[in-house]
Symmetry: none
DNA sequence: TATGAATGAGGTTTCATTCAT
DNA sequence: CATGAATGAAACCTCATTCAT
């Protein structure tokens, strides 16, 4: 549970909660998070300002994190292509699949993740620990992948390597997926698919190259 | 010239300008950029709010970008170790030097770059084009480095590879250098030096591994 | 009956009423009346906000007056020392007994009387006429006392004198008993017992001194 | 200086301050202090809400205390009948003069003193210590008066007696002068002049009657 | 040119009160 | 009857910006 949100037991409560987070989703598609006021969100949601404060103690940020959590869970629930880390396909391919998975997640609702990512940096104190679990799960996937290809990987410290790869994937994709329109955007960078492929190749090259 | 700042030719003007940006530097060490009001900055700088508006049309953001530009130039002026991309030392070593250079730049005043980085994402419209030049210069360095080691690099499209490496370096170091205290901070990640080394190894592995 | 309260004949209703006024009593021991919201009182009482409105039309003030009335009645029911205004003890002693009685009443629950006294001044329109009866009864006691000592009293207009004494007693004791911690609190004033004695002596001196 | 108010050095500032406190004076004549909002006061004063916050940190209460202080000073500055505590006129007369002085002070702007008196009890933490000085000065006058009539006064502890008289005068007059329309208002009480006379007689009787 | 008092729009937040369940 | 989620008016307060001095 994101910090600041309350359980919604009654049917009416649940409906209000959903109206609020869906309204925030809609608003984030058209404007910046910090241009949105509680009053405006309330209007879009068709509820009163007071309802937002009752349900999400602390104002808009808890609403954002709740929305974010909702989207993550929604995707987690979908029957999606689990990465098959079998030796059959090879490390390079598996990394590309992983890259595609992260990329797909971010692309599903970049407006939400963008706002959450920025606010998490702007107001680090307000983040709950739902994120911790996400990170752990991401880290564990990469450990599994690395462990599945002992013959290809040449790094000595496998946990450290997994952490580097997880960090690299998340950081680079977030930057490009969420802020492509407002960051340096280095000329010469390949687009979407090529980019994901190259990012996977960074990790691949790193893992298969021996340390000196 | 960043959008919003005015030339300060006169001596008195220059002094006011310096008082203002140095005051912002001091405030950024102790609090978030968006917790700083024009009045507060004016007090810290020992000038009036009106003076800030006279010198930096547009409020605080132009002051921030001016401060940022000032810090970048200050560092550029320093007689610092230019990377010697001679074949003698090898690609891997040169990449490590480049990593150290980026890392050093960020570490010199993280509070300034952090604020600038966030505001650039929050208010993309307010950024001038001073950044463009920075990016170009960074991109060109990596092109030079890659061009200096034709025997080691196995990538086909060298410009694209240079863009990927530049993007990778900047993104990953910014994330870790500026937001270490407020981001996932993946457990298992090596610290400072080890991290910079591994980041360089990502680029190295990428460049020397043939595409399939 | 204080304006705004409803008869609570049924057993369940009576229980709700008691829960509410006892909750208010508890809250008044720890915070100011106007810092207490309906919702807070409802929580403390273990009932819903709606129940407070059902039982006490008009919100919190009727609850306060009901509580006050309850405390006054509770004390009136107690088998307490009735003042024996017999000539045997003398006017001065009887006045001291009267002073002690008023003082004792106020001291029994100053937090309740303090809130009621302030709200009566803040919202004079909301007071019922229960008070009228109290005043009359107080006034009558002093008339009786004065009438019992025709030889000592030198005032011409005995009703006026009784009104002055009643006014004096009530005013001075309320000020000192309820607001000692937040009023001028004149340095040099005697404490509790000495104060009550001196107040009685004011009345005594007034009554036995001839007009000019 | 009342807590929460700022010095007003500039001419413009002084004008704003005066507009604000005079507006509060006008509003207090027609409605309760706590029915007045900052916005309403700003409108009445012809200034912006922001100006009130700038000049009186803490909102309306500091404005009230400043107004009160202003009225007290204004009266203190007036060339008024100083009480001549010479033995020539006698203790009884001097006490009546003192009563008339207190009564006159309160009557000069009861709406202001009423609000201040209530708020001082409602928010004791917000009062500055300007009051302390007033009390001291009042206390000292009564000490002087008592000292001037050693032959008439029969009390043993003269400081205690002075404190009692000061307390008595202030308390009783405040109650009757400021809240006559909303307090018990005991039937049978004499009006204005008679009341002030009788109050003085309480003190007189007290002082000249020997303790037992 | 620098000042800083004043502005006032607009955000945040509370809470008495209602009414569907 | 009791409940308590929802309401929404209205208060509070801030702060970027202006402009008379």
């Amino acid at each position: 549970m994101s910090k600041g949100s309350k359980p919604a037991v009654q049917k009416r409560s649940r409906k209000t909660r959903d109206q609020i987070i869906e309204a925030l989703d809609r608003l984030l598609r058209i404007k910046e998070f910090d241009q949105i006021s509680v009053t405006e969100l309330a209007e879009e949601a068709g509820v009163s300002p007071g309802s937002i404060y009752r349900r999400f103690e602390g104002g808009l940020i808890p609403v954002l994190f709740e929305l974010c959590r909702d989207r993550i869970e929604r995707r987690a629930d979908e029957p999606q292509a689990q990465i098959d880390a079998s030796a059959a396909v090879g490390l390079r391919v598996v990394l590309r699949l992983a890259a595609a998975a992260v990329w797909g997640q971010l692309s599903s609702c970049p407006h939400v993740y963008r706002a959450a990512h920025l606010q998490a940096r702007l107001r680090p104190d307000l983040i709950g620990d739902a994120w911790k679990a996400l990170e752990d799960s991401s880290l564990q996937s990469f450990r599994d992948i690395i462990a599945a290809f002992p013959d290809e990987v040449r790094r000595r410290d496998l946990d450290r390597a997994a952490a580097m790869v997880a960090y690299h994937f998340n950081t680079v994709f977030i930057e490009r997926g969420l802020f492509a329109d407002r960051s340096p955007n280095w000329r010469g960078l390949p687009d979407s698919d090529g980019f994901a492929r190259d990012v996977a190749d960074f990790a691949y090259g790193f893992l298969i190259t021996a340390e000196d």
